[in-house]
């Protein structure tokens, strides 16, 4: 059977089975709401991930789609944002390849306009989201300990104990003590102990592909549970091409296709788009209609605008001692000391992540060593493992010129215009990076490191802000419950809803918001008789929920 044949309607149709979509599927299905999830990519069985892991270390991207041209895109702006390694298509979405760092945002991060006079405030506060952070941590299985002095208050304990600090963290801890910089554990959505039916981490070192399933990904943590309720179907290899509206500005159906390019249709009462910051915006723009000539839910003109990420730079230095890198694939120590700077109206916050894997690999040292034969092994052994690295994640303000638009000149596998990403950074981000580089260099210099250098400007695999939330329909695309202002039965979830991005990785916040939105949908809509297990209920009236 081709993708989705036989599935014609649902109570709720969710587009995308990643962090937000996978979590919403479970949260709705466990409440008895009939859900169909359409996922553009394939299923990646856990059994195949040992092979994926080996391919990954050879420089291949195992998550690459088998459909030629489906991931095509074009770029512009002063920093060319690349998508190849920065998203994954498949059941699990970007949680298939994420690093697993699960920081909460801090209370100040929600009030940038009020506290610092820049950007906008979120329409919700940290206090409102806090219980959902706890739920998200339990659902994903977060290993951590509350030792970050700058973290906002939490009402629940981490469900798992933290991963101990690494051998190389010991170097950083010594330097940070001298410099009065607090170093703390990194909360991780991976199992420090067996949890949720998944194994303990086995230090496989390729977290981009976790071959054991110890790292949380929604294909393991949420989707199977959702399907097990009997209320959820997941259709893989089903790319949604557009959403169709009726005369009352409501979405009636989605049109999707598999590898055979044959169009199929699925009707539902409610639609949730959870396709990531780039594809969600693109899908809305592709769904333009006479009612929505600029794109679905885009009366504000803000769909695709304010594309935001986290600028990154690695600072490295060479030390005399061996630091034994590459024995674990994630970081175990960081500093949040600079995540809430006093002069945040002028420059962004930043995080320092102390890397457990830095410096050249044996396979990079050997060919440039000039040695051969019996001397080569000795040369590699002498050179290897003497580099310490600090990764900087900087906050970025929303910039209107950073956008996801359609490039009509280039089409994808299905013949649709591809996304065009315009991305750059401004003085706010550059000031944060400059200060962060100075702090990182100081830490390395305190350790007696030589050859301290900053790597090139990079950016995180975070695609945020393209359908941001807010109270004013003229200034935002969705409301505080992530419902589109313009389309009463359409929810847009994921990183695209972020108003500002702080310096924290976004996934835990995406998860918390998804749980909150699912609760909202279940309570408000079912409470008003719109969604029932019987599938015979009506369609929500415009303006019914807020």
């Amino acid at each position: 059977m081709a993708a989705g044949d036989g599935v014609r309607e649902a109570e709720v149709c969710i587009i995308g089975a990643g962090a937000a979509g996978g979590i919403m599927a479970l949260e709705l299905a466990r409440r008895g709401i009939r859900v169909v999830v359409l996922e553009s990519g394939p299923r990646h069985d856990l059994a195949r991930r040992g092979d994926y892991s080996r391919r990954f270390v050879k420089g291949e991207n195992p998550w690459e789609s088998p459909l030629k041209g489906i991931d095509r895109y074009t770029t512009g702006g002063s920093v060319g944002y690349r998508l190849e390694w920065n998203r994954a298509r498949g059941v699990g979405g970007s949680t298939l390849h994420w690093e697993g760092t699960t920081l909460r945002l801090r209370a100040d991060d929600f009030r940038m306009r009020t506290l610092h006079g820049v950007a906008e405030d979120w329409p919700i506060s940290y206090e409102e989201l806090e219980p959902y952070y706890g739920k998200a941590e339990r659902a994903l299985g977060v290993a951590g300990t509350p030792d970050d002095p700058w973290a906002s208050p939490r009402s629940t304990a981490f469900p798992l104990p933290p991963f101990p600090l690494s051998f190389s963290d010991g170097f950083f801890a010594r330097a940070c003590r001298k410099l009065d910089i607090a170093l703390h554990h990194v909360p991780q959505a991976r199992n420090s102990l067996p949890y949720g039916g998944r194994s303990q981490c086995h230090a496989c070192g390729t977290c981009h592909v976790c071959p054991t399933g110890a790292k949380a990904s929604t294909d393991l943590t949420h989707i199977p549970q959702a399907v097990a309720t009997g209320h959820a179907d997941v259709v893989a290899d089903a790319t949604v091409l557009r959403l169709e509206v009726d005369g009352s500005s409501q979405v009636r159906s989605v049109v999707y296709a598999g590898g055979d390019r044959r169009e199929r249709r699925l009707s539902a009462r409610l639609f949730v788009v959870a396709a990531g910051g780039v594809e969600t915006a693109r899908l809305l723009l592709l769904s333009a209609s006479p009612d929505f000539p600029r794109g679905l839910a885009n009366r504000s003109g803000l769909v695709g605008r304010y594309f935001t990420s986290h600028p990154m730079i690695d600072v490295t230095g060479r030390v005399a001692e061996r630091v034994y890198p590459y024995r674990i694939g994630f970081s175990t120590a960081m500093s949040g000391q600079f995540a809430m700077p006093r002069d945040r109206q002028r420059r962004g916050a930043f995080l320092l992540e102390f890397l457990n894997s830095a410096g050249p690999l044996p396979g990079e040292i050997a060919p440039v060593s000039g040695a051969w034969g019996t001397a080569l092994g000795q040369r590699v052994k002498t050179e290897f493992g003497r580099t310490l690295g600090i990764r900087i994640y900087a906050e970025q303000l929303p910039i209107a010129a950073n956008t996801v638009t359609l490039d009509a000149g280039v089409t994808d596998y299905f013949g649709n215009p591809v996304p065009h990403i315009t991305y750059g950074i401004g003085p706010y981000e550059r000031a944060a990076l400059k200060e962060a580089e100075e702090v990182a260099a100081k830490i390395l210099a305190t350790l007696g490191a030589e050859d301290i250098r900053s790597g090139p400007l990079g950016y995180a695999a975070h695609q945020l802000g393209t359908h941001r939330m807010g109270s004013d329909p003229a200034q935002s695309v969705v409301n505080a419950h992530l419902r589109a202002h313009d389309v009463p039965n359409l929810y847009l979830v994921g990183g695209g809803t972020f108003v500002t991005v702080s310096s924290s990785p976004p996934t835990l916040t995406i998860a918390a918001l998804a749980i909150r939105t699912a609760e909202h949908i279940a309570e408000v809509y079912r409470g008003q008789g719109t969604i029932r297990r019987t599938h015979r209920s009506g369609v929500p009236a415009a303006g019914m929920a807020t």
């Binding site: 892991s53 080996r54 990954f56 270390v57 050879k58 101990p164 600090l165 690494s166 051998f167 303990q200 981490c201 086995h202 230090a203 496989c204 070192g205 390729t206 071959p211 054991t212 061996r322 034994y324 590459y326 024995r327 674990i328 694939g329 175990t332 457990n356 690999l361 044996p362 396979g363 990079e364 040292i365 050997a366 060919p367 440039v368 000039g370 051969w372 034969g373 019996t374 001397a375 080569l376 092994g377 590699v380 052994k381 290897f384 493992g385």
Partner: protein
Amino acid sequence: MRAGGRSRPAVIVYSLIVTRRRILQLLIGATGSALVLLLFWRPQRLAHLVSRRFKPRLDATAPGVLSKREMQTIVAFTAVLVEGRELNTHEAGYVVEHVTDKAGKTPGYLSLYQKTAALLDRLAGAPFSSLPLEQRIGLMMRHRFTDSDVRIRECLRPWGRETLAVRALAVPDLIGGYYLSPAGWAAVGYEAFPSRCGDLTRYTSAEA
């Protein structure tokens, strides 16, 4: 024109400036001056420009599969480069895996390996892999195959291009491929490494 003075015929002025020889002289002069300036002010930039133009490069031939004999030659060659001894079965397997992957997936590598194998067999006067280790080492040192650091002046020579391509392209690739494999991690004392799982607590202390 000054009053009473003699003007030169315009046509002569024109010919003085625009003859082909003059243009050629100007071009040679300008290029030479630029090179001299680069040589003294930016010698590294000049070296980069020259090596980019003249250093051997991969061609764009299609991926494919090496013959058994070609693979044997490549493994025998790599053994000398990476260990200076015969490789055991596991180690040879890492070389075969790397070469098969690269030749089968990346344009240009099949051709590079085939040319390398052909050159080595020709220089050996027999299958290179059939030579005793010492003879292989001797041949490789004689032809400087153990030196992948290609100098600019070597790039400018019109002769020895095949050898140069092996040194500049095949040697670093084969060494890098081998050291990216478990053999490379073994060299630094790691039994577990990225893609081979192990003991979770190992990362918290120095290696034994």
